[in-house]
C-alpha cells in the first residue's frame, strides 16, 4: 500500500548531513580513548546533567518510540497503564531503595560481579553468558524496527528497501561504536536527547492538530471498546498482563536491567542513588506515555481514511494482527502529517536515537561478555589491550548476528512483548539472585544456579517457540500468554532458589564473611 509522505530531497539532505556529522564525531571521540576505562565508562568522568542526558538518551530511543507507539496503536488508551506503572515503580524504588541501595553498598560495578562476590565465580560466568545471550536476542529486532521507521516515513516502498536500510544502519552503528566506545556514546546520547525530546513534543503538537481529542476517544471506543480504556478489562489487557508489566517495565527495567544498574553502581553514594531514581521516575513515565499518545493518534487518523482502513484494519474494523504492519503506523502517520523540513529533522533525531540505543547496548553486551565471561575464564589476567580488542571484535560479531536475526525471525507478537520475553531469560534469574542475595542470608550457590537456569524457560513465551513445541491454545485448551509464562517462571525461580538453598546451603558469602 502506497501512502503519501511529505519527505522531500531537502529532508534527505538534512539526514545525510546528520549522518556525516556523527561519523566525524566518532573520529573526534576516538582521540579521547586511551584504555578500557575510557572505552567502557568514558573514564568515569560524567557529570550529573550529562549522565541524565545519557540515561534518557539511551532509554528514550527510536526502538522505544516504535514499540511503545505500536502498543498505543494496538491497545488504545489502556496501554498507557504501562507508563504509569513504570513511573510509579521507579518512584517507589527511589523512595525505598529496594534492591538498588543494598546493591550500591556492596561496591560492585556490575550485576555479574555481585554474583561473584555473593555466590562465587561460576555463578558470575553463567550469569554473564545468560545476560549477553538475552541482551543480544533482545536487540535482535531493533534493526528491523529502525529500518521500518526509515522506509515508512520516507515512502521507500520497494520490498528490498528494508534489508538494504538494515545493512546500512548496522554498518554505520558498528563502525561508530567500535571506533569511539563510551565517549562517542555520551556525545550521540546528548545530541539525540536534545533533538528527539524537542522533536517528540513537536510531533505531539502536529498530531493534535491532525486528530482532535474527541476523534481519539471516538476511534478507540469504536475499535477497542471498553478494553481500550480500562486496562483491567479482560477484553483488553487483564490482570495477569498488568502484573507482568509491573514486574518487567516497573521493577526490572529500573532496578535489575544492566543499563539502569550501571548508573546505580557509578553513583557517588546511596543518597544519590535514591535521588536519581526519584527524579528519573518522570523519564520512565514519559518515555512510554508520549509515544503511546502518538500511536493512539495514528490509530484514530488511519481509522478515518479509506487507504488507512484498508491497510491497518481488518474487514471487521479490528487492528490487523501482522506486527510488521502495525509497526509502520507511527512512521507512516508522521510522514503524512509533518511538513517538509520538520520531517527531515525528526528522521535525523530518530536515527540519532537509533544509534544511541545501539551503541549503548552493543557496548554493554560486548563488555559483559569480555569482562564477565572471557576474562574470568582466563583467570582475570587478560591485559587491557587484549580486552579492548576482544570487546571490539564482539561488537562486530553481534552486529552481524543482529542483521541475520532481523531478516529471519518471525516475531508474531507486539515488539514490546517480544522484548519483555527475551529480556526475561536474564532478569528472572537476576531478580531472584539479587533479592535472595541481598535480603536472605541463607541464599546459596546451588539455589543461585537453579534460579538462573529457570530464566531459560522464558523462551516459551515466544510464539514461534510455542508453535514448535505444541504449546498452542488448540492443544492446551487455553491461551498461554507471555505474561503467564513469565510470571510462572519467576515464581518457579523463587521456589527453586529457596529449595536449593535449604537443601544445599553454603555460598561464597559464608566463606568470605561478606555480603
Amino acid at each position: 500500500m502506497d501512502f503519501l509522505t511529505n519527505f522531500t530531497t531537502f529532508d534527505w539532505i538534512i539526514v545525510a548531513v546528520y549522518l556525516l556529522g556523527t561519523v566525524v564525531v566518532g573520529i573526534y571521540a576516538n582521540r579521547f580513548v586511551s584504555d578500557m576505562t575510557d572505552y567502557i565508562v568514558a573514564g568515569r568522568s560524567l557529570k550529573s546533567f550529562a549522565s541524565i542526558a545519557t540515561m534518557l538518551g539511551s532509554e528514550i530511543g527510536l526502538v522505544t518510540v516504535m514499540y511503545t507507539s505500536q502498543k498505543g496503536f494496538t491497545g488504545g488508551f489502556a496501554a498507557l497503564h504501562i507508563g504509569v506503572v513504570a513511573g510509579l515503580a521507579c518512584l517507589l524504588v527511589g523512595l525505598t531503595g529496594f534492591i538498588v541501595v543494598p546493591l550500591r553498598k556492596t561496591g560492585v560495578m556490575t550485576i555479574p560481579e555481585y554474583y561473584s562476590l555473593r555466590f562465587g565465580p561460576g555463578v558470575r560466568i553463567l550469569g554473564g553468558v545468560l545476560l549477553s545471550v538475552a541482551g543480544v536476542l533482545n536487540m535482535g529486532v531493533f534493526l528491523k524496527a529502525g529500518a521500518i521507521f526509515v522506509t515508512s516515513i520516507t515512502g521507500l516502498n520497494d520490498p528490498a528497501a528494508i534489508n538494504i536500510v538494515m545493512a546500512v544502519l548496522i554498518s554505520l552503528v558498528v563502525f561508530y561504536t567500535v571506533l569511539g566506545g563510551m565517549v562517542s556514546v555520551v556525545i550521540t546520547d546528548y545530541i539525540q536527547f536534545v533533538v528527539l525530546s524537542f522533536g517528540m513534543l513537536a510531533c505531539c503538537w502536529f498530531a493534535y492538530q491532525a486528530v482532535s481529542w474527541e476523534a481519539l476517544v471516538t476511534a478507540v471506543k469504536e475499535i477497542h471498546g471498553e478494553g481500550g480504556f480500562n486496562p483491567f478489562n479482560e477484553d483488553g489487557y487483564g490482570l495477569s498482563y498488568i502484573m507482568w508489566m509491573i514486574f518487567v517495565f516497573g521493577i526490572v527495567s529500573c532496578a535489575v536491567w544492566p543499563t539502569a544498574v550501571m548508573r546505580v553502581c557509578a553513583a557517588e553514594n546511596t543518597k544519590v542513588v535514591k535521588r536519581l531514581y526519584t527524579w528519573s521516575s518522570i523519564g520512565f513515565l514519559t518515555r512510554f506515555i508520549i509515544p503511546m499518545f502518538l500511536g493512539i493518534s495514528a490509530l484514530a487518523y488511519f481509522s478515518m481514511s479509506e487507504h488507512g482502513r484498508d491497510y491497518f484494519f481488518t474487514g471487521e474494523g479490528e487492528v490487523v494482527a501482522d506486527t510488521n504492519i502495525t509497526m509502520q503506523a507511527l512512521p507512516t502517520f508522521l510522514g503524512e502529517i509533518l511538513p517538509a523540513g520538520v520531517i527531515g529533522l525528526i528522521t535525523a533525531g530518530m536515527l540519532a536515537a537509533f544509534m544511541s540505543t545501539h551503541d549503548s547496548y552493543l557496548l554493554c553486551w560486548a563488555s559483559v561478555f569480555v569482562e564477565d565471561v572471557i576474562n574470568p575464564i582466563a583467570g582475570g589476567e587478560l591485559p587491557d589491550r587484549t580486552r579492548l580488542l576482544l570487546a571490539r571484535i564482539m561488537i562486530v560479531l553481534i552486529g552481524a548476528f543482529l542483521y541475520v536475526w532481523s531478516t529471519w525471525y518471525p516475531m508474531g507478537q507486539d515488539m514490546m512483548d517480544y522484548l519483555a520475553v527475551s529480556a526475561a531469560i536474564y532478569f528472572i534469574g537476576a531478580f531472584t539472585l539479587l533479592v535472595g542475595g541481598l535480603y536472605w542470608k541463607q541464599a546459596s550457590t546451588v539455589g543461585a544456579y537453579l534460579a538462573l537456569a529457570t530464566g531459560l524457560l522464558a523462551v516459551f513465551g515466544l510464539p514461534p517457540v510455542q508453535e514448535a513445541v505444541g504449546l498452542t491454545s488448540k492443544n492446551l485448551g487455553f491461551e498461554l500468554t507471555e505474561a503467564h509464562v513469565g510470571l510462572g517462571a519467576t515464581a518457579l525461580a523463587v521456589v527453586l532458589m529457596v529449595a536449593g538453598s535449604l537443601y544445599f546451603p553454603g555460598s561464597r558469602a559464608d566463606r568470605t564473611q561478606g555480603a
Binding site: F32, G43, S45, L80, L382
Partner: protein, 58 residues
C-alpha cells in the same frame, strides 16, 4: 468509561508538561557538562578518574 477518559487525559497532559521542563533543564545543563569534559587539549577527558590498580581482576 468517562472516568478512565478523564484520567488518561490528565496523565497525557501531565507527562508532556513534565517532559518539556525536564528537556529544557537537561539540554542546558548537559551542554555545560560536555564543554567541561572535552575542554582539555592533551587528548584526555577532563575529570577522568584513574581506575584502582586491582580493577582488572575484580
Amino acid at each position: 468509561m468517562n472516568l478512565w477518559i478523564t484520567f488518561w487525559a490528565w496523565v497525557i497532559a501531565g507527562s508532556m508538561t513534565a517532559f518539556a521542563i525536564l528537556a529544557v533543564v537537561v539540554a542546558i545543563g548537559g551542554w555545560g557538562d560536555l564543554k567541561v569534559m572535552f575542554s582539555r587539549s592533551d587528548g584526555r577527558l577532563s575529570g577522568r578518574q584513574e581506575p584502582p590498580e586491582d580493577e582488572s581482576s575484580s
